[in-house]
Amino acid sequence: MKMGSAMKEVVRIEGITKVYQMGEETVHALRGVSLTVNQGEFVAIMGSSGSGKSTCMHILGCLDRPSSGRYALDGVSVENMSKNELAEIRNKKLGFVFQGFNLLSRTTAAENVELPLVYGGMNAATRRARALEALHMVGLAERAGHLSNQLSGGQQQRVAIARALAGDPALILADEPTGNLDSRMSEEIMDIFKRLNEQGKTIIMVTHEPDIAAHAGRRVTFKDGVIIDDTGPAQTAAKPGA
């Protein structure tokens, strides 16, 4: 990152914990996680299953609330927001890319991309233009009218990325975006992410594959609910505990 002191914090979490009750057992999924992500960063979150990386992702994505700790997204404190306010935040400030693509079936690519804009209350004409623009960015403009189930896995994931982009969010969250794809398609998807990052998009991606994580500028590793490693070429942030 070459923005110096003017860098804007997109994500700032401090001392986040998450405790689940699984039947009789109490699970401490996160045991005090602090992380700051600046605008324009491409962060890979790594860790084995059960390390807490997915839980952290859900909290970052405002899909779940932390048991304690503070979270500011794009400068707005979200830890005390209601369900509806969180929905609004997800709609305006976040874009999701999931492992399983999660497109609506029997719905065209363009309609899928439009969906967040629909819930954002945008009028039909603007929303169609924005959707086509987003599809163009992932190289699928000519497939706008195809139904999602007529597309290949790689194409579906590109539609999902376009959907995440459409609302021009502050942060794109990708949860194992290449988990269901072969290596050639995975490269394709990572190229798109890198290009978007070069255009200034802030991206946080969860993955357990080191070669995929290698595409990211910064790698954060989780283990047993805490961050054990935080490295990256241009990373200035202190290591955990510091």
């Binding site: 899909l63 929905a87 999701f96 999660n102 969906l115 967040p116 819930y119």
Partner: protein, 408 residues
Amino acid sequence: MDILLPVKIAARALRVNLMRSFLTMLGIMIGIGAVIVMVAVGSGATKQIADQIATMGSNLILILPGSTTSGGIRAGGGSAPTLTFEDVKAIQSECPAVALAAPELRGTAQMVAGNMNWSSLVTGTTPALLSIRDWRLAAGREMTSSDVDTAQKVCIMGKTVAENLFGDDDPIGKQVRIKGVPFLIIGLLERKGRSAQGTDQDDVVYVPITTAQRKILGNAFPGMVGPVLVQAASQEQLAQAESEITSLLDQRHHMSATKERDYTVRNLSEILAVSQQSAKTMSLLLGAVASISLIVGGIGIMNIMLVSVTERTREIGIRMAIGAKERDILLQFLAEAVLLTMLGGFIGITLGVGGAFAISGFFGWPTLISGEAILLAVAFSSGIGIFFGFYPARKAAGLNPIDALRYE
């Protein structure tokens, strides 16, 4: 937020599962159709009875001359001529709750006009009868009280008699010989159709009671009349009229506690009101049974909506992740349920109206399709949609986004 958006999303979801949507609607379609057909049959029957009551006249009381007892053998009511024209006049003038009273002296007589002849019921009466029975003339003039006082040989005839004697010719001013006595035809009655018992009410000739007594239906008891038809001043005064008549006649006939009354007073309107009431009850019952099928249809919708929510949990999760609020999800599923029921409702109305016509066509039952029943059916079906759709919709909206996304 686009108001129509939930409807559009719902319509798409229904189109995608066309067969299932149709089968779900079937319950509502049949329910609404059944309600409309049953209510149409019920109100048709009620209206038929009401029409028959209207042809009889309203607020009626019938006084029958009493029974005779000879040698310990009692004959039925009306077997003895105990009522006189004077009794009728007294009832008319002395009972305040009585609006009109008219005697009837009936007999069958052969009548001849030109080269045609016909046998019909001849009834001697007074001008009051036609107003009691709410019967108007199609042509000519009514009988007057001076016709009665002077025993004029004039008559008013029903359509059936006129057609049999004169065909299409106008009978007014012509002569008819009743039991050989020439009568001038002064009036032609409007057609009244069949009575509740199925007799032809138009096969009748009315003559002044006095003329009937003296010229054609005279019997061993001069001055006697047959049954007397009384109209009470209002429905509320029916009971009072009945008791006034009873006490007046008791007094005039010198009745005492030990003597059996020589006349019977019957409240006709009451009998008919009871039969109308039973028709109404039947119609209500039919409607209620049909409504049960409507509720069963509604439960079917709730069932399918619950399945649909479970099946589309992932879709709900995606929608929530990209910013759908609880309200958006609630409205989406509610709109789906309401759309299903309303669509089913409209098809059901078409089926119901068609079915009602088919029933009156094939079975000849009178049916009456009321706008109210249709309106009620539409309101009820959308109400069912909201009622039975709300629970599944709320279940969908209450899902936790991550749980919904993870759902396999």
